[in-house]
């Protein structure tokens, strides 16, 4: 949101901004020179679109400028180590213990757990250093998550060219995406509003997701890369799923901020956490972002459904629950904007919202059957 006294964007951009943009454009151009011939019209459009998106994100959020190139670099290193041979995953030390997608994800899980512990220790003992270390580990976990997703994308092509696909198409992969997006959104707000103590709460949801990932890996071998069934072979998927998870991530974060706020209002940990008013505002901002992306994701889903199932809306359980989630937050926003509600009731509502959202996210896959077949448990 622009401040009134700010210069227009183009005047504010400094050399660093342009350098970053150049880096992205060069990288996109290089990818195009390598693979342009294999891309169809849509894929070229996606390349252009994602380059613009990456530049915009970097300009909007300075941390992104080192985060994205770092994660990209790590995955490029992994690709180098693979050297077109999947078997190297077990032979190369670097891949086996650090950079193969599964090792990256395991590191991600470990780092998120550690970050949770550090955030809590820091919050309870008021030790700023511990909390800063918590942030650092969260960043590191996010690097492993994004690099791991990129590497997994490459690995899928090594398994067989026709198996190759973007890793956002089953429950295992979207859980990693969920951890990544929630962590990144939190890190953004942490820096913007100086609310580092809230990390202890937000990291709890991420840890819960990490727990699920571990169970899903060790008990169900869900991490194996399976090829895409015909219904999922669509470029809509590539944008529908990530947009959805920005929504889920934001809603999850707002719920945890709601929990923190409720505790503060009851005098619990109040001296160790930011003021309830600040949290109220962060919670609102998170829900506003989540609502925007969730709306876009639902619309993209409808457009995909129009291609795949023969109708933009089929009242399939997943669709219907997306609508319920959407209505829920629309009502939340009305209460805040129209009725002027603040504080406790909205905090409770945000917490309940997470239950509704979780059901739409996992519950539907577990309990209801429908056309959405990407991830039965």
């Amino acid at each position: 949101m622009e401040m009134v006294l700010q210069q227009p964007l183009y005047k504010r951009l400094a050399a660093g901004d342009w350098l970053y943009a150049l880096l992205i454009i060069v990288a996109a151009g290089y990818s195009f020179s390598l693979y342009g011939s294999a891309m169809d019209y849509y894929e070229q459009l996606i390349l252009v679109g994602s380059s613009i998106g990456l530049v915009a994100l970097g300009w909007f959020w300075p941390s992104w400028r080192w985060f994205f190139p770092l994660a990209g670099g790590v995955s490029l290193l992994a690709i180098q180590l693979y050297d077109h041979n999947l078997a190297r995953a077990a032979e190369s030390f670097g891949l086996k213990y650090l950079l193969s997608s599964q090792s990256s994800f395991m590191w991600m899980c470990t780092l998120f757990f550690l970050a949770t512990v550090l955030y809590w220790a820091g919050t309870l003992s008021r030790a700023g250093l511990l909390m800063r270390m918590g942030s650092g580990l969260t960043w590191a976990a996010a690097v492993f998550a994004l690099a791991g997703l990129f590497t997994r994308w490459y690995e899928s092509y090594l398994i067989a060219p026709d198996v190759g696909r973007i890793p956002v198409s089953n429950l295992y992969e979207v859980f990693i995406l969920f951890c990544l997006i929630t962590a990144l959104m939190y890190l953004y707000y942490e820096a913007k509003f100086a609310v580092r103590q809230v990390g202890a709460f937000v990291l709890l949801v991420i840890s819960a997701a990490v727990g699920f990932i571990l169970w899903y890996t060790f008990d169900r071998q869900a991490h194996e890369i399976q090829p895409l069934i015909p219904a999922l072979q669509s470029w809509w998927m590539k944008i529908h799923v990530p947009a959805n998870f920005v929504g889920y991530g934001a809603f999850a974060m707002s719920a945890m901020i709601g929990v923190a706020q409720l505790l503060i209002r009851r005098g619990i940990l109040a001296s160790r956490l930011p003021s309830a008013e600040v949290l109220d505002e962060v919670m609102y901002k998170a829900i506003a972002v989540g609502f925007l992306f969730f709306t876009i994701a639902t619309i993209l889903g409808a457009m995909w459904a129009a291609d795949a199932w023969g109708g933009y809306w089929s009242w399939d359980p997943k669709e219907t629950w997306a609508l319920i989630v959407w209505l829920n937050y629309a009502a939340w926003l009305h209460m805040r904007l129209v009725k002027g509600w603040r504080g406790e009731p909205l905090a409770w509502w945000a917490v309940v919202g997470l239950l509704v959202t979780s059901f739409a996210f996992i519950g539907v896959n577990m309990f209801l059957s429908g056309l959405h077949s990407y991830g039965a448990l």
């Binding site: 949101m1 622009e2 401040m3 009134v4 006294l5 995953a89 086996k96 193969s100 997608s101 599964q102 395991m106 997994r152 690995e155 899928s156 398994i159 067989a160 026709d162 890996t217 060790f218 071998q221 991490h223 194996e224 399976q226 090829p227 069934i229 015909p230 219904a231 072979q233 669509s234 600040v278 505002e281 506003a288 609502f291 925007l292 709306t295 876009i296 619309i299 409808a302 457009m303 129009a306 291609d307 795949a308 199932w309 023969g310 109708g311 933009y312 809306w313 009242w315 219907t320 629950w321 319920i324 209505l327 629309a330 009502a331 009305h334 904007l337 129209v338 539907v364 209801l368 059957s369």
Partner: protein
């Protein structure tokens, strides 16, 4: 507003019901699940098709109305506010604003205007009677537009949805001009009142077309029945394709279609795939499903009363029915689906007993080799119905299957569709044929051979000194008795005898004896069978002995097979069918337009901040006042900065 929230809540609850209760199932399923009373009650409430029930549509209509009214009511004021600069603000009202301060600085009007405009504010000037000048400035008025966009979007989306809803059909059903058909009739006999002309603007239905066949109508679900929708063209399926990944998962479903326009007779060819529909005359054609289209089959019928006889050849068609006469009795053979691929998950090998190290190792690998998906080849299912109408269902696999290093032919049987199949594994000989088994089976079933068999078995037992000469006769009788009892009722019959006639403490020992006898005698049964057929003796090695033991299991299992014939599938010419879904949805683009408005509206509402600034330029000072639509924390900062900025500018001047 409160009313609207109430409606939204009811809408949400209704939607939840629709996801928990499976929608649009055949009615008997519901009646079975809920019992008659609740079945009728739920039907009256329209719970089997919540999203098309009258009350659900009514709520939607109310929401549209309420949102429209809201726009009409708030709209004019919003628009006025958006256009206006509030340059008539009085001193009092300026002073009363939360962000307002009297600054001890003077700015000339032109300079002040430039300063404001330099920050993207639009400025309106108002000279006042006391000689002071009020500069009223603002930016971000589009925020208010967001309200219009988002709410008009809701109305537009609902209208689009209604255009594609089944409202006209519902009205037709109410007035009686349309009546869904509930019977399973050939297409040509479906009465006129269940047919919809090509003029119907909006529909969604499906049809199954076998390869080489055509369709010019589709079927729409409607409550308990269906309606027939005429199409403006004829669809012919030339060929259906399925491709699989190397691990057996489906990779591609595609149909080669020929479209013939009914009016002009022009034809065109297209291929549709999942996610790649085809649009003809405003009708979108989707690849929705696939199946068997009625494939010619070749079968060998082994008469189980005379299994030594060569099988007779039968021809049939999957999904078809034909009479079958066996041993003078009439049966009806009803074929089900021919499935060319049967991909089975043969499980995660040893997943339960893995060590931690093994699991850690697995977790590092992304290869897809622990889920053993495997294609086990074509299968045909069929029912054999006797004169009394009783039927059993069978499922026969064509390809030999290997288990523990040996090859078998596998057939499933069940007497009740709710039960799982019981599988029969018939061992195959070196020609991969079931003929050797049938020969053995025939010999076992033929009491005339028992004397020869028991003589051989007894002689061998004597030779091996397994029995004493005194027991010779008794042993020989036992062999005969065990053979005949087993041939009549399998292991079950022997068990039955033990349970009925032998004291519990002796059963175990006697059962062992019977099994031993059977295992010894079966070698002689096979030898006699081979000799009778003029074939070389059955080799005496572990492999061939295992064949015989497997055969005993199969003979026993044939008891439950309970058919007069064993139908072995020997060939087929696959004819596939493609399930096509077709929709005409004129509301689609309306919905998309509404969606676009919605996204723009949300962005404007949340991410455009409306800020107003007033500078009252007096002779001896300046009053600064600011407001914003929300986010007061941001405004605090803005206000501070503005004060600092103005002070600095005034200082420089």
């Amino acid at each position: 507003m409160r009313f609207a929230i109430g409606l939204l809540t009811i809408l949400a609850i209704a939607s939840i019901i629709g996801t928990v209760l499976k929608q649009n199932e055949p009615y008997p399923n519901y009646a079975f699940e809920f019992g008659q009373f609740w079945f009728v009650a739920f039907e009256k409430l329209g719970l089997y098709d919540v999203y098309h029930s009258s009350w659900f549509l009514l709520i939607l209509a109310f929401l549209v109305l309420s949102t429209t009214l809201c726009i009409i009511r708030n709209g004019p004021a919003f628009l006025r506010d958006m256009k206006g600069f509030r340059e008539r603000a009085t001193d009092n009202s300026l002073r009363a604003m939360r962000h307002s301060q009297q600054l001890a600085l003077t700015l000339d009007e032109e300079r002040a205007t430039r300063l404001l405009q330099g920050h993207g504010l639009r400025v309106k000037r108002a000279a006042r009677d006391d000689g002071s000048v009020l500069l009223a400035a603002k930016k971000g008025s589009a925020n208010k537009l967001g309200y219009f966009f988002a709410h008009i979007a809701m109305v537009v989306i609902c209208i689009g949805g209604l255009m594609d809803g089944n409202l006209p059909l519902k009205l037709g059903e109410l007035t009686g001009s349309i009546k869904p058909e509930t019977r399973d009739l050939p297409q040509a006999q479906i009465p006129e009142q269940s047919r919809l002309g090509t003029g119907n603007l909006s529909f969604r239905g499906s049809v199954t077309v076998p390869e080489g066949k055509s369709a010019d109508v589709i079927f729409l679900n409607s409550g308990n029945g269906y309606l027939v929708q005429e199409l403006p063209f004829i669809v012919t399926l030339k060929k259906f394709h399925v491709d699989y990944y190397s691990n057996g998962m489906p990779k591609l479903f595609a149909s080669d279609l020929v479209i013939t326009d009914k009016g002009s007779g022009k034809t065109s060819e297209h291929t549709i795939k999942v996610n790649h529909p085809l649009v003809v005359d405003g009708v979108a054609i989707y690849q929705a499903s696939f199946g068997d289209g009625g494939s010619p089959l070749q079968l060998k019928a082994w008469n189980l009363q005379t299994p030594q006889a060569a099988p007779t050849e039968i021809k049939g068609n999957s999904l078809g029915a034909q009479p079958l006469k066996v041993n003078g009795r009439d049966y009806k053979l009803e074929f089900g689906e021919l499935r060319v691929f049967n991909v089975e998950n043969t499980g995660t090998p040893g997943s339960d007993d893995k060590s931690l190290a093994q699991r850690l190792n697995d977790a590092r690998s992304v290869r897809q080799d622990t889920k053993a998906l495997k294609n086990i080849g074509p299968s045909i299912s069929f029912k054999l119905r006797d004169q009394h109408g009783q039927a059993r269902e069978y499922q026969h696999y064509m390809a030999p299957m290997q288990q523990d290093g040996e090859w078998y032919q596998v057939a499933g049987v069940r007497s009740d569709v709710a039960q799982p199949f019981q599988y029969l594994r018939i061992p195959l000989d070196k020609d991969m044929s079931i003929a050797s088994f049938m020969r053995l089976y025939a010999a076992l079933k033929n009491p005339a051979l028992y004397d020869e068999i028991r003589a051989r078995t007894t002689a061998k037992a004597m030779q091996g000194q397994a029995i004493s000469p005194a027991m010779q006769q008794q042993f020989s009788d036992s062999v005969r008795w065990v053979l005949s009892r087993f041939a009549q009722g399998g292991f079950g019959a022997l068990e039955q005898f033990l349970d009925d006639k032998v004291p519990a403490d002796k059963r175990q020992a006697i059962a062992q004896t019977y099994i031993k006898i059977l295992q010894g005698a079966v070698v002689d049964v096979m030898d006699v069978a081979q000799a009778r057929a003029g074939l070389p003796a059955w080799p005496q090695d572990a492999k061939h002995y295992r064949f015989l033991l497997d055969s005993l299991v199969s003979v026993s299992a044939l008891q439950d097979y309970a058919a007069p014939v064993y139908l072995e599938m020997s060939g087929f010419d696959q004819v596939q069918a493609s399930g096509l879904q077709m929709t005409r949805s004129p509301g689609k683009n309306v919905v998309y337009l509404g969606s676009l408005l919605l996204v723009i509206g949300i962005i404007l509402m949340f991410y455009v901040r409306e800020v107003r600034v007033w500078l009252l330029l007096q002779r001896d000072g300046t009053r600064l006042a600011m407001t914003s639509n929300r986010h007061n924390r941001d405004l605090d900062q803005d206000f501070e900065r503005m004060v600092g900025y103005l002070n600095k500018q005034a200082g420089e001047a």
